[in-house]
């Protein structure tokens, strides 16, 4: 069975380590905050200028001056700090954020990522995504393996304008967890009940498949 959005987030959350400063992008990455393992504490960075993002506010505590990078009203946890966008991206660009999780339209086996525009159709702007992929040592991309027509988004070479070049090492889709190295995707885990064959079929990129591909453990 392909993973749900929540299950993708659950799998990503297993990558969190106690004491990590983490930036979660919009969409599935945001859901990761709901599945932080017991005993693990992380501080969430929001690139508009907040370290220590908390949960959504109540109707009573909503504050228009306190939003996240997705422009959602949020709260700040105990020990949080507010700062300017320049300071925020100094943190990101300077490699101080331990882990970044973000979505993508396409990734390829060179580690390139495309996530910010579809020429002639959609221009969202890159926002902070280019800075995040350039600044983080440790990036996880969450995305769907193929589009609704079954066309793979795990590619030999990205077709859309890039967000970053040679920066992605780890991708989690509804079907698989893959690592990019030496110019190929390496299949590390498959979604429970999903066959290696299906993953292979939906992957346009070169895919290195070890003898044994364990199923993800989602607890």
């Amino acid at each position: 069975m392909a993973l749900t959005r929540e299950q993708i987030a659950m799998r990503v959350a297993q990558e969190l380590e106690d004491g990590f400063y983490v930036n979660l992008g919009i969409g599935i990455p945001t859901l990761v905050a709901n599945y932080i393992p017991d005993g693990v504490k992380v501080m969430l960075q929001s690139e508009n200028g907040l370290l220590g993002m908390g949960q959504f506010p109540t109707e009573e505590t909503i504050d228009p001056d306190l939003i996240n990078a997705g422009k959602q009203t949020v709260t700040a946890v105990t020990g949080a700090a507010f700062f300017s966008s320049a300071e925020s991206f100094a943190m990101i660009r300077g490699g101080h954020v331990d882990l970044t999780v973000l979505g993508a339209f396409e990734v390829d086996q060179e580690g390139n990522i495309a996530s910010w525009m579809i020429p002639g159709k959609l221009v969202k702007g890159m926002g902070g995504a280019m800075d995040l992929v350039a600044g983080a040592e440790n990036i996880i991309v969450t995305m769907t393996h193929a589009n609704k027509h079954g066309v793979s988004k795990i590619l030999k070479q990205c077709t859309l304008p890039l967000t970053g070049a040679k920066c992605i090492k780890r991708v989690i889709t509804e079907l698989a967890l893959m690592e990019i190295k030496d110019g190929a995707f390496h299949l590390l885990e498959r979604a429970p009940g999903v066959s290696v064959e299906e993953i292979k079929e939906k992957t346009e990129a070169d895919l290195v498949i070890p003898d044994h591909v364990p199923e993800m453990q989602l607890n």
Binding site: G49, I67, G70, F89, A90, R93, K124, G125
Partner: protein, 233 residues
Amino acid sequence: MSGFDKVVHSYEEALEGFTDNMTVMVGGFGLCGIPEGLIEQVYKMGSKGLTAISNNAGVDGFGLGKWLEKRQISTMIGSYVGENELFEKLLLSGEMEVILTPQGTLAEKIRAGGAGIPAFFTATGFGTQVAEGKETRNIDGRDYVLEPSLTADFALIKAWKADTMGNLIFNKTAMNFNPMMATAGKITVAEVEEIVEPGELDPNFIHTPGIYVQRVIKGENFEKRIEQRTVRS
């Protein structure tokens, strides 16, 4: 302190000298921390041919979205179009020049402009459209793009509190681009929620020292519209 009293009492006075074809920075991230009254005043004035530097262009019908309506902006420098349909339309049609700039690079270009740094190298955008036509360089094994700084004729910013000398503090994430823009405007106008006497703001915790601020105006009615009202379930 006569020479340091920066307070003006009308939006007209706040924008004295603001003309067509100027470059103007506007603080805020989305609709958070934007100088609502100053934006409205420029809208009223109908200034044209502006180069606007702002992370976003508001939403349809609010914030810089209003300048878009009147086609006041000829060049927009920002990082995010998002769900602003008119912005996207003007961009795709080519009616408005748009220089999309990564958010962190935008913030740093503005800081550099205010700090007398004409250009700096950054890894952000290397290998992407953003680097096209720009100098690149490999430094210690990594590839970087050379980014020139940004300055503006006017910086229109929003702060929480000011003293009459122009010292500013911001509130939470309404800070965002405002402090850097304060440093990069030839004339920086701060629209604030409250003006206090010098000495009331703790000198140890001033976000923007008054040296960067030429005019201060108390905002009349901050709407503080929320883009994504999300509450706990």
